[in-house]
Every structure is written in C-alpha cells, then in structure tokens.
C-alpha cells in the first residue's frame, strides 16, 4: 500500500463522513434522515475495516472505485442503500455438474463494481 493510496483512502473516508453529517433523506421524514445517516456511517466503518488488510494494488484500486461509485450513486439518487441489480441469466440454477462453473462465472461477471464488497448470493 503506497502513500498515495493511503491518503486517497483516508480522504474518501472523511468524504463519506462529511456526506453523512449533512445528509437529508429523500422522504423528508426526520427519523428516516437519522436512520440513513447512521446507516452511511455504519456501512462505511464496516466495509473499510473489512477491506483494511488488502495489500494487492489491483484490489485496493477496485475498492476505491467501489467507494467512489457508491458515493456518486448515493448522491445522485439520494439513496444510500446499494442499488439493486438483476440476477444474471441462469443465475439461480441448481448446483449440478457443468452448469455450476458457468453460473459462477456469469454471476461474477454481472456483479457491478459497487457491490464488490458484499458477499450475498
């Protein structure tokens, strides 16, 4: 991890916290605003800690891109939750034989950058 990536990551962290400080929910309800602020802070903390130990330049860059993508999408749609994506074709096929590997490859390919750190499905 070079000094430049370190400072980039820390400035992204501060940027997320600053966004969370001034966040207003789309619905206008005060409790939603509080919930979403807390969500942003908690999500940032957990994901940054989870990926803290990475040393590979490639994956660090991918995580930085993921963070920036989520910031941009969140600010644009005024929605901090990760944007849902469709299942790829053959995404839910059963685990039998040859179809398994093709299915996994399709799924990995179809997973957008802003969902990289999430391990569901």
């Amino acid at each position: 991890m070079t000094a430049s990536t370190r400072s980039a990551v820390l400035s992204l962290y501060t940027r997320v916290f600053r966004i969370a400080r001034a966040w207003q929910a789309q619905t206008g309800v005060m409790s939603d605003t509080e919930t979403e602020r807390r969500y942003i802070v908690q999500e940032a903390r957990s994901l940054f800690r989870q990926n803290q130990q990475l040393t590979d330049q490639e994956s660090i860059k991918r995580c930085i891109e993921e963070c920036e993508a989520r910031i941009e999408i969140g600010l644009h749609y005024r929605n901090p939750y990760p944007r849902a994506m469709y299942l790829p074709p053959m995404g839910l096929a059963t685990q039998r034989g040859r179809r398994l590997r093709a299915q996994q490859r399709l799924r990995k390919q179809a997973k957008p950058i802003y969902l990289q750190s999430h391990d569901d499905t």
Partner: protein, 156 residues
C-alpha cells in the same frame, strides 16, 4: 476576539451618554435588527451580563453591551477540557489510559481510520473544518489542542 473589541467600542461610545439614557433596551433594540443570531439570545445575554458587570469600571447598574448571540470566548483550558471529554466519549479509547500526551497509534492502539473519526468528532465539537493534509498529522490530544488554538487565535 471580535466580540471583546466590539464591547470596548460600545463601552467607549456609551460612556458620555451614560447619564442621559440609562436604558440598555434602547441600544439593544437599535442593534438587534442588524445582528444575525445563531444561539438563543437569552442564554448569551445572561452570561454576557454577569461577565460585563464583573469587568466594567462604570459604577452603574445599567448593562451597556451588545447582546450578540455569540459563544463565550475560548481559552486553552476550555479547549483542552472539551477535547478530552470528546475523546473519553469515544468507545475505542480506554478513559483511564488517556493522557494529554498519549499518542493515538503508539499508546492507545488506534489506527488511521480511528484517527480520522476522532478528527471528525473534533470538527463537530468545535464547528469548523479541518483539512485532510493537516488532519493526518494530529496524533495526540496535545497536538489537537495546539492546532485548534492556532486556528482560533487563542493566546495565553
């Protein structure tokens, strides 16, 4: 600070007219529209009135000062108390081990992400932004107090 300078100006202005109009309400009404208040005026008025009466050399009951809704001026002591209070509230720091000179990374075992969170909490507490380049150099409560004192022009 600016509030003290203004108090001096009002004091010097008001001295000749002290005998004439012993009502502070008149002055207050005159300056109130020109002032943008951020804090409730009653709170600031009370603290200001008690301090003013203690400091003024005019031997009168009348309070002649502008009731701005401003915060009380910072001193090194208050800055230090507030910084330590905020740090004690942070859950990853052990309050018993916290000293003024304790380094975040070496003594308290925090990492750079925690240090960022601490600096954000300080920004929230004191109400002004700390840029990234300077924020990552602040590694102990003492340095934070020094930095805030520099930025807010607090000398002692």
């Amino acid at each position: 600070m600016a509030a003290r300078v203004l108090q001096q100006c009002v004091r010097s202005l008001a001295r000749p007219s002290l005998r004439l109009c012993p009502v502070s309400a008149a002055l207050r009404a005159a300056v109130a529209p020109a002032v943008g208040v951020h804090r409730p005026v009653s709170f600031a008025a009370d603290s200001r009135r008690t301090r003013w009466l203690g400091q003024s050399r005019i031997s009168s009951v009348v309070v002649l000062c502008r009731q701005y809704g401003d915060l009380p001026p910072l001193t090194l002591e208050t800055i230090k108390d507030r910084v330590m209070y905020v740090l004690k509230l942070y859950d990853k720091i052990n309050p018993e081990k916290l000293q003024e000179t304790s380094h975040f990374m070496k003594d308290l075992g925090l990492d750079s992400l925690d240090q960022v969170e601490i600096i954000m909490a300080m920004e929230d507490e004191f109400g002004f932004e700390i840029p990234d380049a300077e924020a990552e150099k602040l590694m102990s409560p003492e340095e934070i107090v020094q930095y805030i004192a520099d930025k807010k022009d607090v000398y002692e």
